[in-house]
């Protein structure tokens, strides 16, 4: 079965540079979530999109922005990168139309961002 695809898998950037992470959800999934997992930390929710509209926002810095496109893929744009942005960034997708009091989020393999 098709899974969530994230690209690139690894990314190395310098301080103050910009980075763009991409997420391709499972086909027919309409919701995308972004999470950030720092070294030795638990994943933290950043932002989510449902049907191309931002649906919720977590602890996402103002330097970051994201959007979901017409084909449901999503991009996380990160500007003025700082050393502390080094982390594993996960994307997850779900099908909200089948809301039954819960949703199952399927995670991609993550993009490991290293800021030097």
């Amino acid at each position: 079965a098709a899974g969530v695809i994230q690209s690139p898998r690894h990314l190395i950037k310098e301080k103050r540079e910009t980075a763009t992470l991409k997420c391709y959800p499972i086909p027919r999934h309409d919701t995308v979530y972004w999470y950030q997992q720092g070294p030795g930390q638990d994943p933290q929710f950043l932002i989510s999109f449902y049907e191309k509209m931002q649906s919720d926002k977590g602890s996402i810095p103002d330097r970051f922005s994201a959007q979901q496109f017409s084909d449901y893929h999503s991009e996380l744009n990160m500007s003025s990168l700082e050393l502390g942005d080094s982390a594993l960034y996960f994307c997850a997708s779900s099908l909200e139309l089948q809301r039954e009091g819960f949703n199952e989020q399927f995670f991609g393999p993550g993009t490991r961002l290293t800021v030097l």
């Binding site: 919701t31 977590g58 996960f90």
Partner: protein, 115 residues
Amino acid sequence: AQSVTQLDSHVSVSEGTPVLLRCNYSSSYSPSLFWYVQHPNKGLQLLLKYTSAATLVKGINGFEAEFKKSETSFHLTKPSAHMSDAAEYFCVVSWSGGSNYKLTFGKGTLLTVNP
């Protein structure tokens, strides 16, 4: 707000012995609870989920968890540990804080399996 507390940051067991990873939750509503596993340098894999159906939930790889409302617990167990079970385990609660659902993770429990 909803949260989960994983009571042990590190659990070490011998191969073939039982595994118990403890999780307590705090929720104003009937929660949806999950256990995810993360192997080194890998993504997150769903082990099992509780969604207000049966309180004893069976997952993949022989893991199971029991939802106990009176104790606000959702502990993960496995009768016999295997070397391949060594990984980080996250207890997760799902809640709706907007128009859809987001996950709140516990701090994780690192499971070490000794030969």
